[in-house]
Symmetry: C2
Subunit: 396 residues, 2 copies
């Protein structure tokens, strides 16, 4: 089975016509994807379980490679680790050509070179993911293919993924609902004397019990704005901000909810309402055909009218297989990037995360983050519960 070329007659699990158009726009003849998220997408959800968490092995690392020739989906090849022959034997790898023959970066890209050399037609302009292609593999590719031009394929692949399929939206709904359910269960379990680490350990367990892969939890408690898990003790009256990402089959649920050890007071309710107002104004701008920038403009206008505008942080971004992806709405959020989509219309099936934080000097870090799916009627908000103060018990 090693290095075997097994032809399987299956339709590609992604929109090959759209990819061809995007490659035309970008002037690409061949695409060589090497990021986990794009390879997963191009293989219709498949990821090799062995390297789900780790990447280093031997003297190198795992490097999955997907090769696509414009206009010829039948020539697509997937190059994986030698142990992926187990997966291939089970029929799980949808690429027409599968080479489960690599251990490290150089042998993986060597198999890609062999494949590209066999392709007819133009193969001069090759799209790569330079941030996800190790330097040694890129050098090897360059040496092996000779007179070709490498171009960045990030934008092409991101556009391909920007509108989610119904099956992808189901995964995003599940991820969002389950993350919020896990948060609700965690807030119920919080009590004075626990540490922030204890809370995160509980949230991790609650997410894992819901078959999510726990990715991270940013947590602030009391008056502090420090969001790293730590041994900070929770005290009666503390506010707790939980901002967690958990993925369900690769798709990320990333939401924020607020808890309190005891009962909220009128000032806290007013502060959370300010945050909520910004969130609601921003989501009301969402509908097919509205411009991406409309969401940002609406949210920023709401911030400006708030008496707490000096300590309000608002942003919005696409989300899916990557926690900040297309549509790209702002250059001013926590992750700076070109706001590609500020002037483009929103489309059904796009998924947007909206987040507003109020960094109050005396009352603490108060934040909501929500997931919005652009739909015919405007939007749909999976996991849209628990958005008020969630009270925890005061005794263990």
């Amino acid at each position: 089975m090693d290095n075997a070329h097994d032809m399987i007659a299956t339709a590609a699990p992604f929109d090959t016509a759209k990819l061809d158009r995007l490659m035309d726009d970008a002037g690409l003849d061949i695409l060589i994807a090497t990021s986990r998220h794009n390879v997963q997408y191009l293989l219709g959800g498949y990821r090799f379980f062995f390297f789900d968490v780790m990447e280093a092995i031997g003297t190198s690392r795992y490097l999955p490679v997907f090769v696509y020739q414009k206009g010829h989906p039948e020539n697509s090849a997937y190059i994986g680790n030698r142990m992926e022959k187990f997966e291939h034997d089970l029929g799980r790898i949808s690429a027409p050509i599968v080479k489960a023959g690599a251990w490290g970066t150089l042998d993986a890209i060597g198999l890609a070179i062999d494949h590209v050399k066999k392709l007819g037609g133009a193969a001069k302009r090759i799209g790569i993911e330079a941030g996800f292609l190790p330097a040694d593999a890129r050098d090897h590719l360059h040496a092996g293919l000779g007179d070709v031009e490498f171009r960045e394929a990030h934008f092409t692949l991101e556009r391909l993924r920007a509108i989610k399929s119904p099956a992808e939206l189901d995964l995003i709904r599940e991820a969002s609902e389950r993350v919020v359910d896990a948060m609700m269960a965690t807030f119920k379990a919080c009590a004075p004397g626990m540490t922030k680490n204890d809370v995160v350990a509980r949230l991790r367990r609650e997410e894992q019990e819901r078959n999510l892969v726990f990715e991270y939890c940013l947590i602030a408690a009391g008056r502090s704005h420090n969001r790293a898990p730590s041994n900070q003790l929770l005290e009666e009256g503390d506010v707790i901000s939980i901002d967690s990402g958990g993925n369900y089959r690769g798709y990320i649920g990333d939401l924020s909810r607020m808890g309190i050890l005891g009962e909220s007071d009128s000032e806290l309710r007013e502060l959370l309402r300010e945050v909520e107002d910004v969130q609601q104004v921003a989501r009301r701008a969402i509908r097919p055909g509205a411009l991406g920038g409309d969401i940002i403009a609406a949210g920023e206008a709401a911030v400006k009218t708030s008496s707490h505008r000096a300590v309000l942080d608002f942003t919005a971004h696409g989300i899916g297989l990557v926690s900040h992806e297309a549509p790209r709405l702002t250059a001013t959020g926590p992750v700076p990037y070109a706001p590609y989509d500020a002037d483009r219309p929103l489309e059904c099936g796009m998924v947007i995360s909206i987040e507003t934080a109020l960094l109050h000097p005396a009352r603490g870090y108060i934040k909501l983050e929500d997931t919005l799916i652009v739909s015919e009627s405007g939007w749909e908000a999976p996991g849209d519960h628990g958005r008020e103060w969630n009270s925890s018990r005061l005794t263990a």
Copy 2:
């Protein structure tokens, strides 16, 4: 705090004199580490929680960078994500200089360039990890530093990590014991009608409940040698091979144990004894001063005398932060690499994984894998229980 240079007077958490010697041997003036495992090592165990699982963010990816100048540990710098200021404020990052100012590959490496330019002395020969440095970051580094020579630093960093400290050995003991404990609990829960996926889900939970990060499980059942989790149903009498990696604070426990749905018979006991014999012969070659190749020679000699030699797979490799690392004992194992250590003496604190599999055409996949710590008295074997047939119940 953004881009702040905060000086902290702390001793480096690794052996700087050893690293200086290794850099001399390799002709390196500067080292720029970018793999998660080496950066974690150079920071004394610190990993940024937010990117423990995912790496992509925005239009790029997380890239932690550690810069070390030979002979000047006081000039070491760590470059992290902007959110790592939370960790830095908590005093968790031991590098003398911390720049928590990046989001992607290019701004991270840009901060590294700034730092290298400020260093006095020779800075012409720069060690990089070409398999763990993205192509765009390497190009940026090249453009930013001008007339320098890049050399591969993999070997230098691997040698630095080859002998584990007492604290590291404690983590490896914990990882190994907990992985085997999780397997024993899982075998107890196996029953006819469960699938291999069910078994892996149970093992995952058992590892997570023991505060391990579940990395993977290779599982074969019945007569099949296919080791991918699947919906294959377990039946009465099936043998079950579980080979799982779970990490404890980054250090991997990677062991294999055998279960059976019911009771073993004399043939199965004989087959497992053959595997066990190879394992025991190989481990008896371990002691400080023996050559790495002695382990392989001993194991291969034992295989040769077996009547099942045609279907026996034997190998051994170092293990620690990476599942196959120094000492490098063989070029013939499942992960091929130069057998650097075949002719070098074993030293106290090295950690070796020994694995023997018998691929029986009628009775299934029968394997043991053990972890051996080289010690004054020869070796120590954490997690050395459950090495016989572990019987599961026959009714749910």
